[in-house]
Subunit: 485 residues, 2 copies
C-alpha cells in the first residue's frame, strides 16, 4: 500500500534533535529565601524550545524539608502573554504553558517532562512550607533539528538591520524545526502545508536540512483524504493522522514545495514518487474551479487571517501559480499528457483571473469589488500579465492606501515576493526592513504569527496571550536576504 | 561505626510492597461527555494508599484531540477534607492532595507518579477543549507491606461491632504499613516512635510483619542525637535522617517496643544489639527527672494533643512504666549492674508519682491541681499502686465527669489498657465499643488521628481538611480484641 510506503519513508527520515543547555541571563533571585507565595521571573535572554530543570537549596537553619515543595511554573514566549486574564477565546486554555509540581524531595532537581516554548519563566513557591528555599540552578535543555553550523554567515558589509532580520528569522525557523517543521512550538506544534512551503524556502538557503522537507512531503503524501486531496495539516501527536480540514491553497502548495525541493536537490526520483500526489491536488482544485462556474471557491482558500477579505481573485492567482509549478514538474519528468492538460487549465484559470483586471486602475478587483493587496500580489505572482503591467500593478499597490492589507507575515511574504518578481527589489527590501524591522523594534525575539504595525492587540484567537510569538511562516526574511542580495 | 551498622541492617530489611488493583465502586460518569469545567467524584468504596491511573475516551465526532488535555485531581480520605477553604493553619498547604496534569496525549492513560491516600477523588477537565472526553477507566495500584493472609479471622461468634472495629483497625494499620510504619499515609508519612509502639502491638496479633518492627527499631537506633537520645521521628524521605525534636516519652517507648518485640519473637540477640540504645533512653529521661528536682520535665513529654493538659503526673507514670520495661530487658540478658540501677530509679520515680496520689479522692493530681484521665491511666499502668487501688482509681475515673479527657485514640489506647490492667476488662471493651464505635457510626473508613465524640471539628492543625483520617496510633482495637478476648 502506497500510503504505508510514504509513512515508512517519513519514519526513516526522523531527524536527530540537537540539544543545547541554556541558563538564565537575568532574574536570578540571588540568596533570597522564598516560600508562601514568593516568586521570581527568569529571563533566558532568547527564545527557547525545550525542557526545564530547577534546583533549589533547602535553607539550613530550617528543619529538613518536612513537607512536599510546591513549585508553580509559568512560561512566556513574550511578556505580552502575561495578561493574568481568564481566557475566553476559542482556543483551548490547555495551551497555556503552566505547571504546578509537588516535589516530595525538594533536594532533588525538579524536572518537567513536557516541552515548552519560552524566553521567560515565572517560578512561584505557593505553599507555606516550614522551610524556605533559595535558588540553586535552573537550565533548559533546548532542542531543535536545525544545525546552525550549516548556516553561512552574511557578508561583512551587510546592512546591520538585515543582519538582525536574518538572525531573528534563523532563530524563528530553528525553534520551529523539530521532528517536523512545526508552525509554532508553543502551540499547535503542527505540520501545516502552507507553513512548510515557506519554511522549506528559508531552509534551503540556511540550515539545508533537506531531508526534513522530504520527511514532511512524505507525511502529507502518506495521509491523503479519500479523494486523494491532501490535508492542510498533519498531527504527529497524539496520533499520527491528517487533520480533517481541506484548504485548496494549502493542498496546491504541495506542488510548489515539491518543485522547490527539486530545484534545491535535483532529486528527480522524489519528483517521480510524489508526482501522482502533486498532480492530484491540481485536479481537485481545478474541478472545484469548474464546478464553481469558472471561479475559485474562495471559502476553500486560507490566503490570510485578514477579516472580511474577498479571497476569490487571490485564489485564482494561487491556482494559476501552482498549476504552473505542477507544469514545471511535468516538464521535469516528461509527462507529456499532463503537460498538455495543465497548459490548457492554466489558460482557463488565467482567463478568469485576467477578467478581474482593470487596466485603467492597474489593479485586480475581487468579485465583490473589493480591492486588496492580496489580489494584486497573487495575480502578479501568477504571471498572467507581462512584466511591465505587473510592475505597474505593484507600484499602484504601493501607492494606494485604501487597499485591504495583509495582517500576517505569511501574506506579507507573497507581497514581498511579488515586488521582487516584477523587478521592484529595492521596494521589496524597503518593505521587508519596514515591516519585519518593526517587529524587531517592538522587541520580539522571534517573528510572530500575526503582526499589524499599528495594532499590537491584533489576535485571531481573542487574546494576545494565545498568539504564537515564534511562528515559522514569518521566517522568510532570511530567504529574501540570502536569495536576492 | 555502629550507626552505619544499624542503618545497613535496616536497609536489608526493606520490605516488599504488595500491590492490589482497585477500581471505583460509584461516581463513574457513564457515557457523559465532559470538558470546560465538567467534573465527577469517584468513590473507591474504601480507604486506599497508592497510585492512580485515569483513561478517557476522546469523543468520536470531534476532531482528533488538537490540544493537550488538562486534568485536575483532588484526593480526599474523607469528604470532611473537601472544605474548599483556603487553609491558613500552620501545616504546609503542599500536603493537600491535588494535581493538575496537562496530557499531550489524551489517548494514553494519565498516570500520576506521586502516592496518594484517599477514598474519593474528584476529577475535573478545566479546559475548553475542542473535543469532549468520556470516562474509560480509572484504577488505583494500592500498596502496603502488610500481608492480609497472615491475619487470622475472628471466631464466628464475635460481637459484630467488634468485628467491624477489628476490620477498620486492620485497614488503618495496613494502609500505614509501607516501607516503615507510617503515622499517616496522607501526611506526614513519617516513622514516629510513639506510633510505632502501638502499631507494633497491633502487628504481632494481626499481620505479624515482625521484620518491619525490627527495621524501624534499627532506623531509630541508627540515627540517635549526639547524646544518644533517640529522635521522636525518622524521615525516610526526602533524606534519611532523624527529626530534631526530642520527646522523652517517645524515646522511652523504644524500651517498650523492644520489650514487646522480644516477647513476640524471643530474639534475645536483637535485645543484646539494641540494649545500649534502649538503656541510654532511660538514663537521659531519669537525669532530666533528677535535674528537674524529682519531677518529670513535662514539656518534654507529648502524652496527648489535649490542650491545657498538665502532663507532669502522667509523665512520671510513663517514666516508671518504661523503666520497668528496661528492667525486663536487663533481666532477659542478665545485665545485673543495670538491673540494680534501674530498680533504684524505679523506686525514686515511683515515690514521686505516689506523692501525687490522693487516697481519699482515689485520684492522682497534677502539680497544678489538675485532674486528668491522663494522670490516672499512666499512674495505673506504672503499677505504683496495688491492684485494688488501681481498680479504685479507674472506677473513680470512669465515674467522674470533671476530669480532663484525652482527644486522641492514641491516649485512649492507654486508658483502655489501664482498665484491663486492673481487671476492668468489661469496662474496657464497653469503652472501646463506645469510643471507636462512634467513629464507625460517623462513617469513618479508617480510624483518624484525632477524635472527640462531641466535637467533629476538632483539629490540632486549624482545619479538619488537614487532619489525618487514617492514623496508625488509632489501630489498637485489633490488639485489644485479639489479645484479651
Amino acid at each position: 500500500m502506497k500510503e504505508f510506503n510514504f509513512l515508512k519513508k517519513a519514519a526513516d527520515l526522523m531527524p536527530p534533535l540537537y540539544e543545547t543547555v541554556v541558563r538564565p541571563v537575568s532574574g536570578i533571585p540571588e540568596g533570597r529565601n522564598m516560600r508562601d507565595g514568593d516568586s521570581f521571573m527568569l529571563d533566558f535572554g532568547t527564545h527557547l524550545v525545550g525542557f526545564i530543570t530547577l534546583s533549589v537549596e533547602v535553607q539550613k537553619g530550617d528543619d529538613t524539608a518536612d513537607s512536599p515543595l510546591a513549585v508553580q511554573f509559568e512560561f512566556f514566549e513574550n511578556l505580552r502573554e502575561d495578561t493574568g486574564e481568564y481566557y475566553t477565546g476559542g482556543m483551548s486554555r490547555s495551551w497555556f504553558q503552566v505547571q504546578t509540581v509537588f516535589a516530595d524531595n525538594p533536594y532533588e532537581p525538579v524536572v518537567l517532562t513536557r516541552r515548552y516554548a519560552f524566553r521567560y519563566v515565572r517560578i512561584t513557591f505557593p505553599a507555606n512550607t516550614s522551610y524556605a528555599v533559595s535558588y540553586k540552578d535552573c537550565f533548559v535543555k533546548a532542542v531543535s533539528s536545525a544545525d546552525l553550523s550549516e548556516v553561512e554567515p552574511l557578508p561583512e558589509d551587510t546592512d546591520p538591520l538585515l543582519v538582525k532580520l536574518d538572525n531573528t528569522a534563523l532563530l524563528t525557523l530553528k525553534n520551529c524545526m523539530q521532528t517536523v517543521f512545526e508552525d509554532g512550538p508553543k502551540r499547535d506544534r503542527r505540520l501545516w502545508l502552507g507553513d512548510l512551503y515557506l519554511q522549506a524556502k528559508a531552509n534551503y538557503c540556511t540550515f539545508k536540512n533537506n531531508d526534513l522537507v522530504l520527511r514532511c512531503l512524505y507525511l502529507f503524501a502518506g495521509l491523503p483524504h479519500e479523494n486523494g486531496c491532501l490535508s492542510s495539516a498533519i498531527f504527529q501527536e497524539p496520533v499520527l493522522r491528517n487533520q480533517s480540514w481541506i484548504l485548496h491553497d494549502y493542498a496546491l502548495f504541495f506542488c510548489g514545495t515539491l518543485a522547490d525541493y527539486y530545484r534545491a536537490t535535483g532529486r528527480i526520483g522524489v519528483v517521480r514518487e510524489l508526482w501522482q500526489t502533486a498532480y492530484r491536488q491540481t485536479e481537485i482544485a481545478y474541478e472545484a474551479f469548474e464546478k464553481n462556474g469558472g471561479a475559485a471557491p474562495s471559502d476553500m482558500y486560507f490566503t490570510d487571517w485578514c477579516p472580511g477579505l474577498d479571497k476569490a481573485t487571490a485564489a485564482l492567482g494561487i491556482l494559476v501559480s501552482m498549476l504552473k509549478e505542477a507544469l514545471f514538474l511535468a516538464d521535469a519528468i516528461g509527462d507529456s499528457t499532463r503537460q498538455k492538460v495543465l497548459s490548457e487549465r492554466i489558460g482557463e484559470v488565467s482567463k478568469a483571473l485576467k477578467a478581474a483586471y482593470n487596466p485603467a486602475e492597474k489593479l485586480f478587483k475581487a468579485p465583490s469589488g473589493q480591492l486588496s493587496v492580496h489580489s494584486q500580489m497573487w495575480a502578479v505572482l501568477s504571471g498572467v500579465l507581462g512584466d511591465g503591467d505587473n510592475a505597474a500593478v505593484m507600484l499602484e499597490t504601493l501607492k494606494r492606501k485604501d487597499l485591504v492589507k495583509p495582517v500576517t507575515p505569511y501574506a506579507m511574504h507573497y507581497f514581498s515576493e511579488a515586488l521582487i518578481r516584477c523587478g521592484l527589489k529595492d521596494e521589496a527590501f524597503a518593505f521587508i526592513k519596514d515591516y519585519w524591522g518593526a517587529m524587531i523594534e517592538k522587541g520580539f525575539d522571534c517573528f510572530p504569527e500575526v503582526f499589524v504595525k499599528d495594532n499590537p492587540e491584533a489576535s485571531p484567537y481573542g487574546s494576545v496571550a494565545m498568539n504564537s510569538y515564534c511562528h515559522a511562516w514569518s521566517c522568510t526574511p532570511s530567504y529574501f536576504i540570502r536569495t536576492y542580495l
